[in-house]
């Protein structure tokens, strides 16, 4: 589909990036496979916490592949990574805190505890 360098006239200065075509294709395949595994995993009869952990890890792996390869963080200045992770970490931390705050049932008197799911 691509092989772009070849379409150029020889006069064009050839200081191009090396094509990442194959890397991208491979990563896309990995992503597709992981997605498949995720869907299957949900239906496999394994202990719940293990599945949850696996799902969280797998989606994290997909996440990292996309940002570091498709979004070139790997090849960019470190600062871009830091910048993005500031947002990511704060968002993650806020989410974590919110889920815990709502999980806590301390608002109720100790004599009448109604168990709520703690995330």
């Amino acid at each position: 589909m691509s092989a772009p360098a070849a379409t150029h006239t020889p006069t064009a200065v050839g200081h191009h990036e090396p094509s990442k075509f194959h890397i991208y294709i491979q990563i896309a395949m990995i992503l597709a496979v992981i997605t498949g595994v995720e869907v299957v995993l949900v239906y496999t009869p394994i202990v719940k916490w293990l599945v949850v952990t696996a799902l969280v890890l797998l989606s994290a792996v997909k996440f990292m592949f996309v940002i570091f390869f498709f979004m070139h963080l790997r090849w960019d200045k470190m600062f871009c990574t830091i910048l993005f992770f500031i947002g990511l970490v704060l968002a993650g931390g806020t989410m974590w805190a919110l889920l815990h705050l709502f999980g806590a049932d301390a608002g109720k008197p100790l004599s009448a505890v109604v168990g709520l799911l703690l995330f």
Partner: protein, 275 residues
Amino acid sequence: MSSHAATIDHHHDSTTSTGIPNKKLLWWAFLASDCMFFGTLISTHLVYRLNPPPGNAIPTQVFNIELTSFSTFILLMSSLLMALAVNAIQRGNVRSTRTMLLGTMFFGCIFLGGQVYEFGHFVHMKHMTLSNSLFGSTFYTLTGTHGTHVAIGVLLLGMMYVRTFKPAAGGGLSMNFLHMLAVAVAAGVAFIVFVPGMIEIIYGAGIGEFLSSHAVPLSVGAAACIAMAWFARQSSTVEFGEKNAIDVEAVGLYWHFVDIVWIIIFTAVYLLEYL
């Protein structure tokens, strides 16, 4: 810069203090901010999933995991095409860039069409609306916001695509506008009518019935596609080139981000429900 005028280093811009191009920095900062947007939305959704009010909709009875898995796959592949578009333009290949942009848009439209179908299905078949349960409220708002992001992405890609035809000689505003309109109409028809229709056909609706009941929008869409092809005839030299790689890359960052948000949503909102 002058002696190597034709060499463009895509990871370094010597006119800025850090070497990161301004646009790239802007987008990364925005994406950091967007993390908080989605963080808040996902928090809202999960908080109410974990503390559901009585009478809440039951997600697994509503969801259609096959369709969603397929959409997820499509979105991932659109990300691939986007990455290839950037790859192409960084190597000065405008034609391939166009193909990849169109492909990305097309996959984006399939995803959106899937969502249009999904929402319609949930509302009419599963009777879960935005307002009749808290789950509906948080679910539609979260995935709807994501869908809006995808739609904006399609729009940006469309603008980028049309821009690659901007003649080097200047002018061409009205052409550009008409071209853009054709792209927008084609995309609109694809995701509002065509893709949902196809999904219904896959689930067993009649083709003839679908074609006849949506004849008008489908023919408008077809006309728009033809117009697109017509506009895309290469007639003169264009201004767009390797120097615009940063523009494509910027839209690409946004597109990939939308993809990774979906990766999270897919796990947190859909898959975990099935446990």
